[in-house]
């Protein structure tokens, strides 16, 4: 903190002050405090989840809880079907949503005429602002009946309905971040590829997308976080049966849905089991983030 001050003897001659720099110190502390808000919140969340959820682990057993397939509170607390439902719905959403999102981002950044990009981009951004309960409506009115008709089944409230709704929900995040990272590439990559006689499309797939990989992966990571954490829309379209789904055309209950649906009336060990559902969810999110961070680091080298 090397501030300067006006010296009265020599006019506007500037030199370092001998006084302690109070304002600088103040801002320094302010920055640290702000930076701590997020970290402290995370620590608090982890702490209360573990302190509330550990009794269930202790009573029911870690293996029985994580790998048990029966959820019959207050007797059995197996959440394995919900782990499977959460993973399949997230993975399915990524499988469908990410390719659509990346191609949309490429279209917006590289191919779309300006007038069309000016329609598509705000529409995508608006999609990000729609509350998840409205996505749930959309799923109920459009996707669930469509699945009933397409697959000729009595109830369309299925894992597949959840996958489709989630795929749409992660689009805006992945599109916006991918487009930004493709646009942020220095123009020399594209010019270099075109100057070698490569076509525009070849340059996009072989140079631009790989070069923007780290940004695109960040978008995918945020999309995954949104998908695995989504609750309301999922509850509305997935049927919520706490049993192991035999296929994607059967109802299923995710970890988040389990917590949201039963928290209002659960007590004692049942409530604790819901917190431990939250612990499992937290661990999955940490693992996903660590995994993507690792891939990201590797792709840089």
């Amino acid at each position: 903190m090397n501030t300067c001050t006006k010296n009265s003897d020599s006019g506007i001659f500037l030199r370092p002050t001998p006084k302690p720099d109070r304002l600088g110190t103040f801002f320094h502390l302010l920055f640290i405090c702000c930076a701590m808000v997020g970290v402290v919140s995370l620590a608090t969340i982890a702490w209360f989840l573990f302190s509330e959820g550990l009794p269930a682990f202790r009573q029911a057993g870690v293996i029985e809880l994580v790998f048990g397939s029966e959820w019959l509170p207050p007797a059995l607390f197996g959440i394995f079907p919900m782990i499977v439902a959460s993973l399949i719905s997230t993975f399915g959403a990524v499988l469908i949503g990410v390719p659509i999102a990346i191609l949309t981002a490429v279209f917006l950044a590289e191919l779309a005429p300006k007038w069309l990009a000016d329609i598509v981009r705000p529409a995508v951004e608006l999609l990000a602002g729609i509350p998840s309960v409205v996505y749930g409506f959309f799923g109920l009115v459009v996707i669930v009946p469509a699945i009933e008709v397409l697959f000729n089944i009595p109830a369309g409230n299925t894992l597949l309905a959840g996958v489709i709704v989630l795929a749409i929900m992660i689009l805006p995040t992945v599109i916006t971040i991918s487009e930004t990272s493709i646009r942020a590439l220095p123009p020399v990559y594209k010019e270099g590829a075109l100057a070698l006689g490569a076509s525009h499309i070849y340059s996009i797939f072989k140079v631009l997308i790989p070069a923007a990989r780290s940004g695109i992966l960040t978008g995918v990571a945020l999309g995954i976080a949104r998908a695995i954490g989504e609750t309301m829309a999922i509850i509305m379209v997935m049927g919520n049966a706490p049993a192991m789904p035999g296929s994607i055309l059967e109802p299923a209950r995710t970890l988040t849905a389990n917590i949201a649906m039963e928290m209002s009336y659960a007590t004692g060990i049942h409530a604790s089991a819901l917190y431990s559902t939250g612990i499992v969810l937290l661990i999955f999110i940490v693992l996903l983030n660590a995994g993507l961070l690792y891939i990201n680091k590797k792709s840089v080298h």
Binding site: E191, G192, S199, K206
Partner: protein, 249 residues
Amino acid sequence: MNKLEVNNLNLFYGENHALKDISIKIPNRQVTALIGPSGCGKSTLLRTLNRMNDLVPNVTINGEVKFEDWDIYANNDVKQLRMRVGMVFQKANPFPMSIYENVAFGLKAQGMRDKKQLDKIVKESLRSAALWDEVQDRLDTSALGLSGGQQQRLCIARTIAMEPEVILMDEPTSALDPIATHKIEELMDELRKKFTIVIVTHSMNQAKRISDKTAFFWMGELVEHGDTQQVFNQPQDKRTQGYVSGEFG
């Protein structure tokens, strides 16, 4: 014999008249240097020769650019053009992939899959770009790990791999230190035997050292064009004289 011939070329960026009635002949297998102060249009002219200006929105070009007998703005085969008229950029721009993949990029873009043939061309191109000895045992490592000078020679290798007839160079050494610059200039001395080279440079010493012909641009006009010796020693125009003697620019 002329490799490239520009006739009455006018170029506008929107309303801005960036190139004014340019006519210039680029002789085969010689080095032509384009010099002049920033914003004089020399890079713009370079980029019309392989139609890189097509990427700029609102650009209007009229006049004629002939590559041998081919009027390059008369049809839209830009891929063919850019394979035959290669380009090396101001800032070395290797792709974020391995050294090998960088050199093989253009060939693979044309659909070449024969591994043996690719290996051979990559090796020859790196040899021609005086880079082979430095990278032969790490072809699979990222090109971004090379030094600035090596990256620029890699970009030259990448261009040579396409076996172009002309190589356009847009201030290829402006981001390099004197030693790396010297290596590139030595390399250009070799390349002139096989390729026609057009180079934009801000360094008059560089133009003097490496070029056979020099063209001086000023505010979008081609002021003077001739043998390098003559342009530097007996400039015909007052503006050329002022610029090459270092009075301004």
